[in-house]
């Protein structure tokens, strides 16, 4: 069986590169095939890569506080461009200021993201979640 492919990148005008590399390594070690687009990735670039590689999930990172603006509309764009079943994950410092994570999670789930992660998340949990969600999708 071929490995699951996922698309990874930091969205918008955000150039935080270190965390991005750590996520890539951690997921690869968990046996997931990661296509890492790096930093400053636009919504369409995520979707382009997902179509071409037949990816099952897109993992969006945002560290610089503009996540709410940058991430809005990605689900709709995926549907428009034919990716109706793709999993969308988002994580990082998603908003500016101190807000309860539960509120943040609500906002991003409403935008159509399947899972939302705080900056403190254990990456092995992300990998576990991914595998479960992908298995659920396949069944």
């Amino acid at each position: 069986m071929t490995k699951t492919t996922i698309i990874l990148g930091v969205i918008g005008n955000d150039c935080h590169a270190v965390g991005n590399k750590i996520i890539e390594n951690s997921l690869m070690q968990a046996g997931i095939n990661v296509v890492n687009l790096g930093v400053m990735v636009s919504q369409d670039e995520f979707i382009d890569a997902a179509i071409e590689t037949g990816a099952t999930a897109i993992l969006v990172s945002s560290i610089y506080g503009h996540g709410e603006i940058d991430c809005e509309g990605l689900r709709g764009r995926c549907i428009e461009r034919g990716l109706k079943d793709i999993l969308l994950y988002v994580g990082g410092n998603l908003v500016i200021g101190k807000r309860d994570f539960e509120d943040i999670e609500k906002i991003f789930k409403k935008m159509g993201y399947d899972r939302v992660f705080p900056p403190s998340v254990d990456l092995s949990d992300v990998a576990k979640n991914l595998k479960q969600d992908i298995a659920r999708l396949a069944s």
Binding site: N13, D14, C15, V35, I51, E52, T53, G54
Partner: protein, 464 residues
């Protein structure tokens, strides 16, 4: 060693007899000859040129006895037309385009995502020489590719099809297209961040060779010369550019404009090393890149060139009105050999050449978009940054002849594109002219003596 180099073009057949000093990698030009090409029988002008440069009525016995070698190329078919099919325009289609053009082909059409019935009709009507069919990384998308394969299977197309897509479904594609002339090669994008255009390029070149020798007398030349095959001119020129890059000190990076009547071809040798604060986006480009602009040319394509047009500043500088340029260009359609005599026509030609060189380079080079981030200003770069390139070569009939023409004044018309992005054209450079118009012939010589030919090429350039 005595080597005859001949290039069979659609208008002229040109030959040079070279004396190669293999010890010092030096070349002496012994004799030159140029005769009109007979399109219906390429061998007659070829033999005449070979006789003239070798000074022998039977030049073939010189070859049999080992006193003379021969290398020849042909562009008489006007370049092979390739239609490229990819999945996402910015990804597999983009790599497909680079692969086709760098292999010496001309892009006829491009298609992405699902082929529509209209696309298939267009394909059938234009009947390209080759279809380059790609899509999906290895193990990636199969849905689009298989659906497109089934659609192609139902067409009447009988050209060569090169499949360079998702490897996981190559058996299915082979099965679906088994009644077509199909070649399956390695994927041009096996992994997302690692494009690999070479196998597709090689396959295009193979078909090219097979196709150009068919008919019109090239097969006869092959027989007469004891099995020496011609290579496509654009391909030998590309390899010559590689030879200069590898063999001549100080010429590791340069740009070359080959402007003809029908197309303007740009070659550049450049290794991308992004500066700090610059982020590279988009697909990787090979170190040696060639682009072909079919709507930019001095004669056959002049009408299209005039309609592409220039900046207001350029019209003002040349004191030419856009309508006048269009009228002039339209008058050239059936005159591929027209040489202007009066000053006004010369200015018009100058203007056309300016548009061809400026536009073709602007399309060839990359872009910078300036973004403001929390960490300050960042430049997002797509394509290649040639702003620091310091050498530009001009070749092809018109550029070789015109000693007054300076591309720099035309390059500076293209600084910002319509989307507000900076165009990464060479800014401060020396311009060198292939005054003898000898590059295609040296390119033939370079097949066997790359170092000597590359040295000679650079030595023969005239700085202007």
């Amino acid at each position: 060693m005595i080597v005859a180099g001949i290039d069979i073009g659609s208008t002229w057949t040109k030959g040079v007899l070279f004396d190669v000093d293999t010890e010092n990698d030096d070349v002496r030009i012994v004799k030159r000859s140029t005769l009109p090409t007979r399109i219906d029988n390429l061998s007659s002008s070829f033999v005449k040129v070979l006789r003239e440069i070798s000074g022998e009525a039977d030049p073939f016995h010189l070859m049999q006895s080992g006193q003379m070698k021969l290398q020849y190329s042909s562009s008489a078919k006007g370049g092979l037309a390739v239609s490229a099919i990819g999945l996402v325009p910015e990804i597999t289609l983009s790599i497909g385009k680079i692969a086709a053009q760098s292999a010496g082909a001309r892009l006829a059409q491009v298609f992405s995502y699902h082929l529509t019935s209209q696309d298939l009709l267009t394909l059938e009507e234009s009947s390209p020489d080759i279809i380059l069919f790609a899509g999906g990384t290895d193990g990636g998308d199969s849905q689009y590719v298989l659906s497109n394969a089934r659609k192609i299977a139902e067409t009447s197309l009988n050209c060569d099809i090169i499949y360079a897509g998702n490897r996981s479904i190559s058996d299915d594609v082979r099965d679906i297209l088994k009644h077509k002339k199909l070649t399956v090669v390695e994927n041009l994008l096996p992994n997302f961040n690692e494009p690999q255009p070479e196998p597709a390029q090689n396959a295009i070149r193979e078909v090219f060779l097979k196709t150009i020798v068919k008919g019109k007398g090239l097969d006869e030349i092959e027989r007469m010369t004891g099995g020496i095959s011609p290579l496509p001119t654009p391909f030998v020129v590309l390899e010559f550019v590689r030879a200069i890059h590898k063999e001549v000190q100080g010429w590791e990076e340069f740009l070359m404009i080959d402007m003809g009547g029908a197309t303007t071809d740009i070659y550049s040798v450049h290794k991308e090393v992004p500066a700090i604060g610059t982020i590279l986006r988009g697909i990787y480009e090979p170190i040696i890149k060639r682009t072909v602009e079919g709507d930019l040319g001095m004669r056959v394509s002049a009408h299209a060139t005039a309609r592409v047009g220039a900046s207001n500043a350029a019209y003002h500088r040349m004191e030419i009105e856009p309508e006048k340029l269009i009228n002039y260009a339209d008058s050239l359609i059936n005159k591929p050999d027209f040489l202007p005599a009066d000053q006004q026509s010369k200015n018009m030609d100058q203007m056309l050449a300016g548009i061809c060189t400026g536009q073709a380079c602007a399309r060839h080079v990359g872009r910078w978009a300036t973004m403001f981030t929390v960490e300050g200003e960042v430049k997002v770069q797509t394509g290649r940054d040639l702003t620091k390139l310091d050498k530009v070569i001009g070749t092809g009939g018109w550029l070789s002849r015109d000693s007054e023409f300076q591309p720099s004044s035309w390059f500076s018309d293209y600084t910002i594109d319509t989307r507000g992005q900076e165009i990464l054209m060479p800014k401060h450079f020396n311009y060198y002219r292939d005054e003898e118009s000898i590059f295609p012939l040296l390119a033939n010589l370079a097949r066997e003596y790359p170092k000597a030919a590359a040295n000679a090429g650079v030595k023969l350039l005239v700085k202007s």
